[in-house]
């Protein structure tokens, strides 16, 4: 079992590195605003747009935290529910334990209503730490600025990782009748950079005297 997971993860790694070379990430740029040029309020405005993206069904449905169940929510569905067919992506996050996500989510993106979306990358759930589904703006913001929960990334690394990960790009170009994530990938990356340069402010930093005692400057 372990060796099967290893093989799958290895092929995931290979697919990932190949994808990075030709990805539309090549068309995005990392726009770094000058230090001190973005106010906290402007940073919070950027954050609220970042939250609109993170909480959008195109992103949140697979950012399910500890749960192994992808979600079906948003305008294509009549109600919020677990992915049909009793799908369980398991601890592998890619269904190795039961039925692999790639069984249906192939390199071709179905344009048909309720057809399986796909990208040239291994379809999978987001890492457990990136827990967006049903979370508030404050909760997601605090996760994203916490190195322990954001993959030990700076805001520049968060933004550039978005540019290079093709599975994320699908959210803005989901095909068929699916509603895309708001704004564009480039605008989303720009908002993360603006938020970062502003010191990664979160909404409750100014609304309450409580803070987590960590400086993110």
């Amino acid at each position: 079992m372990k060796s099967v997971i290893k093989t799958c993860l290895l092929s995931l790694f290979i697919v990932n590195s190949m994808a990075a070379e030709n990805s539309i990430g090549d068309k995005t740029v990392l726009n770094e605003p000058e230090a001190g040029s973005v106010s906290t309020q402007q940073g919070l405005d950027s954050w609220s747009r970042v939250y609109e993206v993170a909480s959008h069904p195109r992103c949140a449905n697979c950012h399910v935290g500890n749960s192994p169940y992808p979600m079906w929510s948003g305008p294509s569905f009549t109600k919020t529910q677990r992915h049909g067919m009793n799908i369980n992506a398991g601890a592998s996050r890619m269904g190795v334990e039961y039925i692999m996500c790639s069984t249906c989510h192939t390199g071709s993106n179905s344009e048909a209503d309720h057809g399986a979306p796909g990208v040239k990358d291994a379809w999978r759930l987001a890492p457990v730490e990136a827990d967006w589904f049903g979370k508030s703006s404050v909760e997601i913001c605090q996760q994203l600025r916490d190195p322990k929960r954001n993959g030990n990334r700076t805001y520049q690394e968060i933004a550039s990782h978005l540019g290079h990960d093709v599975i994320l790009h699908w959210a803005w170009n989901p095909g068929g009748e699916r509603e895309p994530a708001p704004y564009s990938l480039q605008e989303h990356m720009d908002d993360i950079m603006l938020w970062g340069v502003a010191g990664m402010p979160c909404p409750d930093d100014i609304n309450s005297n409580l803070n987590d005692g960590v400086s993110y400057e």
Partner: protein, 154 residues
């Protein structure tokens, strides 16, 4: 383009974006693989690509280039049945039979990962293969028997 199906190379003259399922059924006449929904919702078309279950209604013909495709016809033959096929016969799983080649291909792929699955694990693995005739209890038993055969216990 050339695609390899059941260990044989086939030259097929098709558009790159023709669904692989059409290539198998209409070009190569391998009609054991069934068409149910065309949108990855039923599992009737399940085959193996490089040994793993996939749904060719969702794959473009060009995605099969350089890969090893196995259909129900290539999993085993009447003279040399695959353990999963043998277990299916033992348990007389099929009712109308339409979904069954997909069920068998899914089970064969799953058992490579889980040689000794629990009922719950079987249900998670097989729920994405629909059966209008409701053969699910027999599918579950046959998967357990196939697993025991593959482990060399029966």
């Amino acid at each position: 383009m050339e695609i390899n199906v059941n260990g044989e190379a086939h030259e097929v003259d098709v558009e790159d974006d023709m669904p692989l399922l059409w290539v198998l059924r209409d070009e190569l006449n391998l009609t054991g693989t069934k068409y149910g929904c065309g949108i990855a919702q039923c599992g009737a078309c399940t085959i193996h690509m490089d040994g793993l279950a996939v749904r060719p209604c969702q794959l473009k013909a060009s995605e099969a280039k350089g890969r090893q495709i196995t259909t129900i016809e290539g999993l085993g033959t009447p003279d040399a049945l695959n353990a999963v096929q043998a277990a299916w016969i033992e348990h007389q799983v099929a009712q109308c039979g339409y979904c069954q080649s997909g069920q068998i291909m899914s089970a064969a792929s799953f058992l490579k990962f889980k040689p000794n699955p629990t009922d719950e694990e079987i249900d998670y693995a097989m729920s994405a293969n629909l059966c209008r005739c409701g053969t699910y209890p027999r599918i579950r038993e046959a998967v357990k028997t196939a697993a025991a055969k593959l482990r060399g216990e029966v």
